[in-house]
């Protein structure tokens, strides 16, 4: 899978970034294969909002895991920095009022079931993730 980024201008997250996983027209949704370093290299992102879309994943709940790591990442072993549940068959939206900083960068994975560390099973259906971050050089 791949992801799409869109520069955000003129919003409260001025000079922010919207990250959508997977990119449009992809047939494979967000899963346990991590998308590494989804923000621009050399920047430290601050996470402000999350949308987990499980409308096409009605079979089971999932967990979105965001890692403060940009390489050598093992989903199921490495500890997630932030982990949020995505409920089957619906959208989950979340906002962090003061943002959550990622010192090294951000990598993303979605797994079936719960937890911030163990487990690396792919969701059965199609899961889409949208993140909004502010990047700091």
């Amino acid at each position: 899978m791949s992801f799409r980024t869109t520069r955000i201008k003129g919003t409260k997250e001025a000079d922010g970034l919207e990250i959508v996983i997977p990119a449009p027209n992809e047939t494979l949704g967000a899963n346990a294969t991590p998308e590494l370093d989804v923000t621009n290299p050399g920047t430290t992102p601050k996470l402000f909002s999350i949308v987990i879309d499980c409308l096409d994943n009605p079979g089971e709940n999932v967990t979105l895991r965001l890692y403060d790591k940009i390489s050598s990442l093992t989903v199921g072993t490495d500890n997630a920095h932030v982990w949020i549940p995505g409920e089957r068959g619906r959208r989950t939206e979340l906002e962090f009022s003061v943002g959550i900083p990622f010192a090294l960068g951000m990598s993303v994975a979605v797994v079936k079931g719960a937890g911030g560390t163990a487990g690396a099973d792919n969701p059965t259906g199609f899961v889409k993730v949208t993140l909004r971050v502010k990047e700091t050089a």
Partner: protein, 147 residues
């Protein structure tokens, strides 16, 4: 309504002491093992690491969809978790000593809510609490808004 939980209440090495710390929610007093003892939808959570001094690290806060007697944060997968930054010095209190999380859609806890926190150091940076995790060094205040 916000309540301060003592760091001793987040005892990661043994089952949580139900009498040692309390969470006040509206007019009811509920212990942290069962913050909410029924299926609920969570709409907001505010975690304040306001008492941390400059020498203390950030904490990781976790919520569990488990209110059973056997629940222990060292052997139960959490439903969600996030870091709350440490004190950043005088005049910087709003730069990360608390985290407020809001959900327009809500997050479902089918059994109820239990909570736990640990000091984010060493191998316990993020992820689940383990038997070697440490308590937060200072009090952590938590406020939940749910159905």
């Amino acid at each position: 309504m916000a309540t301060t939980l003592t760091s001793a209440g987040f005892n990661t090495a043994s089952p949580l002491n139900q009498t040692q710390t309390k969470i006040v929610q509206k007019a009811a007093v509920i212990d942290q093992r069962n913050v909410a003892r029924k299926p609920v939808t969570l709409y907001a959570v505010i975690v304040d690491n306001m008492f941390a001094t400059a020498s203390n690290d950030k904490v990781w806060f976790r919520l569990y969809d488990d209110v059973s007697d056997s629940w222990n944060p060292t052997n139960t997968k959490s439903l969600m978790g996030f870091p709350v930054e440490k004190y950043l010095g005088a005049g910087n209190q709003l730069n990360g000593t608390f985290q407020a999380v809001f959900s327009r859609t809500g997050i479902t806890f089918g059994k109820g809510i239990s909570i736990a926190a640990s000091l984010g150091t060493g191998s316990d940076v993020g992820g689940e609490i383990t038997a070697t995790s440490s308590n937060p060094a200072t009090d952590v205040a938590v406020e939940l808004v749910h159905s």
